[in-house]
Subunit: 141 residues, 4 copies
């Protein structure tokens, strides 16, 4: 049995303020790019920050990493591909691939891990029912 792949792809130009002294996109902006990917994924698959919040949860990040393989310059366009990685734990995991749009060169890869907090900001150790339902809806389980 294979798991269905949930992927979103969003494209935008490098903004002037994102380029650093070395005249490449400052590495910290890739974390923002991953967030733009995550937000795009959330809008596409009905699992946005606000939709999760309406269910009574917050999902702060507990882990992030990024591997920088190439650089992005001003006037490049960026493509962020966000892929959902399923887990048995009460976590939301995404894998990211960031491409330069012009030549589809892979510029960076990364991963983010989020946990569930309830409205008292207590860690939730079991997968919340709404998230189980979301998985079912998208054929993951």
């Amino acid at each position: 049995m294979t798991t269905k792949e949930l992927i979103s792809t969003v494209e935008f130009p490098v903004r002037f303020s994102e380029v650093d002294f070395m005249q490449i996109v400052w590495h910290g902006n890739y974390i923002k790019y991953m967030e733009e990917g995550r937000e795009d994924f959330g809008r596409k698959y009905g699992i946005s920050y606000m939709q999760i919040r309406d269910k009574g949860y917050m999902t702060p990040l507990v882990k992030i990493n990024c591997d920088f393989k190439k650089t992005l310059s001003y006037e490049d366009k960026v493509i962020v591909e966000t892929r959902y990685i399923d887990s048995d734990a009460a976590k939301i995991i995404y894998a990211f691939r960031i491409f330069r749009a012009s030549d589809h060169e892979l510029v960076a890869t990364g991963e983010s891990v989020q946990v569930f907090l309830d409205m008292n900001r207590e860690l939730v150790l079991t997968i919340p029912p709404f998230f189980e339902a979301w998985k079912k809806k998208w054929g993951i389980r």
Copy 2:
């Protein structure tokens, strides 16, 4: 009768991520520098964001401007001078002067205007009592 001058001064290094493609501090970061000045003023004179919030108000900005006279480079140190400008209106007004620390060159000037919202986010048209008391304490009125 003269009004007492309330002024705070804070110094910090230009950070790598603040420098842009032209290898000078990106203009948008001066808005952040002014906020660092405003926060320093608030800590010094007991009028921080949190202290205002404890009184039941929020003070969003309604106006900001900045004149850029010189540039700042990476490895420069920045001095932000924040001066309270008294007003008869229900407003908090600050004037800023940003200097390069090494030669005390005036790099930029600016001004910010804030209004008072109550906790229902309604605009407050008269000066809140806590702010009148704050003015009196510092000899402004």
Copy 3:
């Protein structure tokens, strides 16, 4: 004789990282939004940062201001309208209007002024020939 209006309009979602403690878009991000407007204008009318640089000039900001009229929340979409304001001086002036997309409410207005530096970073006091040509091309003079 009327001057042709040069206007560009760009739309994008509020990003999570742009929202502040008050759960509205942090005021400093409007400066970034204006830059996104300016970049969109540059792409549309052939006067981008890189195109100006290829002519041998840089155009740092010397003045910026912003009036905040309403607030933007997370999940709002932003529309930035950028209008070229002609001047007899060696300056590039833009007026900005920022709207909430859902109800087209005017959220903020602003203006930016840029000057021309040559490649030695010396201020250029007369309008550069390439910019005169650009104005002519778009029917401004």
Copy 4:
């Protein structure tokens, strides 16, 4: 034989613009905090971005990660501890620990890896002589 530990520690307040919708420091700002740590280390041990550049090298990041253990709020003070991790490869590796100043709670840990590029932006595969000399000076080898 033990290797000498090179560690720097820098402290600063959480800035208003760094706090997000959840009223905690936005995770992407930890990447900036690590950079503030790296810059502080560079100033302390004579290995700043500019000093490396004067030797003919740039050192872009190729890898970064961060584990978030606790949260930081507005009005917290942050301590960033930056520790040099020696490597046989032509890399600069730092380990970071981010603390809340008030109770010295460990808030996050992270690591960054940088490589050496020469001025043609070509990857340098052997440790540059200036960096070997720097290691010797600080008793690492």
